[in-house]
Subunit: 273 residues, 2 copies
């Protein structure tokens, strides 16, 4: 087991950082997260899944509307098809369980039908946002819970690349959308994952008021930390984190199809007013 | 300490449910979450805050873009002002620390300026969604971490009710938006909070394909569980959860100002294409 100081050093790519003065076993667990992209075929059983979902449901939910669902995909053929749709990422086919997280306004619409009440608020961007945030809060708890059972996870944002095909494969009704996937399974010890460094706290944490200028020294520090990380991991990454990130947001062509998200959502019954 | 069976019973409002067969201390911790709305004035110190933020940063981030920030507000006058803006919720003024979670595309825009590259992808709904999801994943880890230090939390969605005023108060630049707040502080033992029951797993968890019809029996079960909960808590709630939830989504007038979210975001530099 790494020490608290080692976990902090890995999390920020900076061996000179001291051990944190406040600590708990839960914080130790959360700091140990790393995205796992290589899995053994061992199944995730129903008991494990039930515990993971109970943890997901224990996350907060806006006004307790619980505007999310999750689809557990274990069928190898469906996983393979999802992998193809999600930027051909091998780990989606390889992991024994794919959890597809859904922003779900369809259940709320059904509630209004059952109670014979109007549902006009579902036509606003706010409603979509509530569903997406509810799904994300639940998913993060699921990730922590799965990892506590010795499983690994990785989020799959490319589940939004081809949303029509994903919706068809999962029989998604109007007013539901897959916001991301999540591979779950036993990590392959032969292909271990590493903790990825994050930005210094001085960049993401602001006191009382936001400041953009105050972030620049920390961004430079982080560019250096990530260069060391790429070298340690023998990753062939060109340029700094700043360059790498800039390339991701260059234009519609770098969005892997997600530039069509508004059109897709509108066609699926999210009016986004 | 409640047993695993007691935690599951409270989480689903159903004392007949068996203890889960898969379990861990982390899952036990996550299942124990309850939203805290009554706080002692004791401050959250810098060491606690640093550990909470390290946990937040350990959550996954889309393409490691880390498109979020958080503003720690401790100043009593600013907390009082935020409380006023957030539906006059007393706990926002009462809790010694308010964490305001920001979907942050401004840092990415700055990176593209530093690297002299185009940033057209920031103009898409996808980019806003990445920021909101990144912020939510980070915030959920922060919540779990804070609770593990003996603190309580509650998410404040009404930080979106008056977004212009919140942005002014926190000096938010273009391409940043407060997606929600979070009260953090020591729970007042004189005003304890309870675990709120959630929908049966049969409602939120789907296997292989989504089904709306399969959810109806579970929704009826949950309406009954919530009626029992309202009675136990001596809460004066009229109607079932289905009625209560339907009322929340009736129309623009039930969105507490959040029907203007698109206009606000466009004015703040999120093109949402």
């Amino acid at each position: 087991m790494p020490t608290p100081q080692q976990l902090i050093a890995a999390r920020y790519g900076d061996a000179s950082l001291p051990a944190p003065a406040a600590w708990s076993p839960v914080i130790e667990h959360l700091l140990g997260h790393r995205s796992v992209r290589a899995y053994l075929p061992d199944p995730v059983d129903d008991d494990q899944l039930a515990a993971i979902i109970a943890a997901a449901q224990s996350a907060s939910s806006s006004s307790n509307l619980q505007a999310w669902s999750v689809i557990a995909v274990r069928d190898p053929a469906r996983r393979a098809k999802l992998a193809e749709l999600a930027a051909k990422q091998d780990q989606v086919a390889e992991a024994p369980l794919q959890l597809v997280w859904i922003a779900d306004l369809a259940r709320l619409e059904r509630l209004t039908e059952m109670t014979q009440r109007p549902d006009g608020a579902l036509d606003y961007l706010e409603a979509f946002l509530v569903g997406a945030i509810d799904a994300a809060l639940a998913a993060q708890n699921a990730a922590a819970a799965a990892e506590s059972l010795g499983l690994g996870v990785v989020f799959i944002g490319s589940m939004r690349d081809k949303p029509e095909e994903v919706a068809d494969l999962l029989a998604l009704p109007p007013k539901t959308v897959a916001v991301f996937g999540m591979c779950v399974g036993k990590p392959d010890p032969a292909r271990p994952a590493s903790i990825k460094p994050r930005l210094p706290q001085s960049v993401v944490l602001h006191h009382e008021r936001y400041s953009l200028d105050a972030q620049e020294p920390g961004i430079e520090t982080y560019n250096s930390a990530m260069m060391r990380f790429y070298e340690q991991q023998k990753m062939n990454v060109r340029g700094t984190w700043a360059v790498h990130s800039s390339k991701r947001v260059a234009g519609a062509e770098t969005l892997s199809g997600r530039d069509r998200l508004v059109d897709f959502l509108r066609a699926r019954g999210f009016a986004l007013k």
